[in-house]
């Protein structure tokens, strides 16, 4: 028993009974540790919480707002005009298009989400509602919780319908169920990133917990993604234009669910593709149910899996770039040697990333040196960041030849999302930003290869 005062209410992961308050303190402390890793959140940051409706992201939101309010009180009482406190916003991605959920039900869910978010703190939190199909739209349009999912004017409605149709068509062309689920997940992250970038957020927080990380580790292993595995399970993932944080990574889902219940935090259950279905439908659902099974045998197993995977060597982008100012997340100087993080990646550590899922590619997965490909001028000199902007030079209709596109995709996406070499059926429907990233990756890969064979290249007029 932790505090030895009140009765134990939950058998935590530590196998020590805890009362509600001790449980809360334990999870909050883990959250703060995760959040403060590398000083990831500082006073000038704008933090976007990706809310899924579940207990993890609900608690992430709760803890973050409590921290914010505590720091604001402190700043006020100290009358310290220099200490800024971070901003918080919430994003929700509507995935009803991928589930075949009718618009009326989807609207109900949006309303529920909005009402849960409205309860989090006295001053309303900015809530950004977006959707998977938004990736097919040129501007960052937002759904209004209060109005309908359709736009009121006809042209807007047409666009929305078209995008939704395109999403449904795209997913129907992916035959592998696991591939379909993974593609939805990649698109979800892209939708979040778009909103974050558009509204000037500097960090995205996910409610990913130990349990789900453990499931991901096993699923990734089963998909042959062992090389890229460490990328998405560290506290910090700066591959993205807006770096992604996983402060709840060390908390198990049981503790998160129970705390939400005991402290009356409302959650919304969303029917996702992997939820409540046949556990043999996909590798993802199978690993989820496997994790539950082995947890029965030994509750600390999921934590062990997560810790083991966390010992694999991470990538350069799992660190935030440094600069000279030195602030703690409460705005006070931490120590003279602490550094503030901007979220840039050091150029020398840039990996070649798969345009679909952003997995770093293993050099061994590149096919042998190919003859230099002529890439049209409109694709040259594009940085990763620019690839996230909607098209500026009217290159919507230009697709990279499928063979070349495939060459910069990771083996897993090649197998489960774009398997058919002869057809472009999936490729042609992927969002434009995926094509743009492919071009950027291609350039990077050629750069790497040029460096690699550099001493053999003769002078030429390139």
């Amino acid at each position: 028993m932790k505090c030895k005062q009140k009765a134990g209410q939950v058998l935590g992961n530590q196998t020590e009974p805890m009362c509600k308050d001790c449980l809360r303190l334990s999870l909050l402390s883990k959250f703060k540790t995760g959040l403060n890793h590398q000083g990831a959140v500082g006073g000038s940051d704008k933090v976007l919480v990706a809310f899924s409706g579940g207990p993890g992201s609900r608690l992430a939101l709760q803890f973050l707002c409590e921290l914010q309010s505590k720091l604001q009180d402190e700043a006020e009482s100290c009358k310290d005009r220099n200490s800024a406190v971070f901003d918080v916003g919430v994003a929700f991605v509507d995935e009803s298009g991928a589930q075949g959920i009718p618009l009326t039900d989807a609207q109900k869910t949006l309303d529920e989400i909005a009402s849960v978010v409205a309860e989090v703190r006295p001053t309303p939190l900015p809530l950004h509602l977006t959707s998977l199909e938004s990736l097919f739209e040129n501007e960052v349009l937002e759904l209004q919780a209060s109005s309908k999912l359709h736009e009121d004017d006809n042209s807007g409605k047409d666009n929305k319908d078209k995008s939704r149709q395109r999403l449904i068509e795209l997913l129907s062309r992916v035959e592998d169920q696991t591939g379909k689920e993974d593609l939805v997940e990649h698109m979800r992250m892209d939708a979040l990133q778009r909103v974050a970038k558009h509204y000037g957020y500097t960090r995205v927080v996910l409610g990913l917990c130990t349990t789900r990380v453990a499931a991901r580790v096993l699923a990734a292993t089963a998909k042959g993604e062992g090389f890229a595995l460490p990328a998405g399970i560290q506290y910090v993932d700066a591959r993205w234009p807006v770096p992604v944080l996983l402060p709840l990574r060390d908390c198990v889902s049981k503790e998160l669910s129970v705390l939400c219940h005991l402290t009356n935090l409302k959650t919304v259950f969303l029917k996702k593709m992997t939820a409540m279905g046949n556990s043999r439908a996909s590798i993802n659902s199978l690993t989820h149910s496997f994790i539950s099974l082995i947890n029965e045998e030994n509750p600390s197993r999921e934590y062990t899996i997560m810790r083991t995977a966390a010992k694999l060597i991470p990538f350069g982008f799992n660190k935030l770039a440094q600069d000279d100012s030195m602030l703690h997340f409460n705005g006070r100087p931490r120590n003279p040697h602490a550094r503030r993080n901007l979220g840039r990646i050091e150029p020398c550590e840039i990996e070649v990333l798969c345009p679909i899922c952003s997995a770093p590619l293993a050099k061994s997965d590149f096919s042998s040196l190919q003859p230099k490909v002529s890439v049209s001028d409109s694709f040259t000199r594009m940085s990763l960041e620019e690839a996230f902007e909607p098209s500026t030079s009217g290159i919507d209709s230009e697709l990279l030849p499928s063979k070349i596109f495939r060459d910069v995709c990771c083996p897993s996406c090649q197998y489960q999302i774009i398997p058919d070499q002869s057809k472009d059926s999936v490729l042609e429907l992927l969002p434009l930003m995926v094509q743009q990233r492919a071009a950027a990756s291609l350039l990077r890969k050629e750069g790497w290869m040029r460096e690699y064979i550099g001493d053999c290249l003769l002078e030429s007029d390139e």
Partner: protein, 99 residues
């Protein structure tokens, strides 16, 4: 005896999308306390609307389902051997897809 049952984390879908249920159940053999084991079977027979395998496995709850009796973890109370009393609240939470 009268009990309050709550289903969360998606389990409510198996119970007509209703989260909170007030039920009336009699322990067998005329005893005045109800073992959780019995309650589970009662729930499966009387309350579950569809797909029993999503809620139960054999005679216990499916792996990944948490049980709280009056806000206390059933693992601290003997799991299937825990007893429920008049006016108790039993909460079932699925953690299978928490996020």
């Amino acid at each position: 005896m009268q009990l309050t049952l709550e289903f969360k984390g998606g389990l409510e879908l198996l119970f007509g999308s209703v989260k909170v249920h007030q039920i009336e159940v009699e322990p067998s053999d005329g005893k005045d306390k109800l073992k959780l084991q019995e309650l589970l079977i009662w729930v499966r027979n009387h309350l579950l609307k569809e797909r029993p395998e999503m809620f139960m496995k054999g005679n216990s709850v499916r792996p990944g389902v948490l049980v709280l009796i009056n806000d206390c973890d059933w693992e601290l109370l003997g799991q299937l051997d825990a007893v429920v009393d008049e006016k108790d609240t039993v909460v079932f939470i699925s953690t299978l897809h928490g996020g």
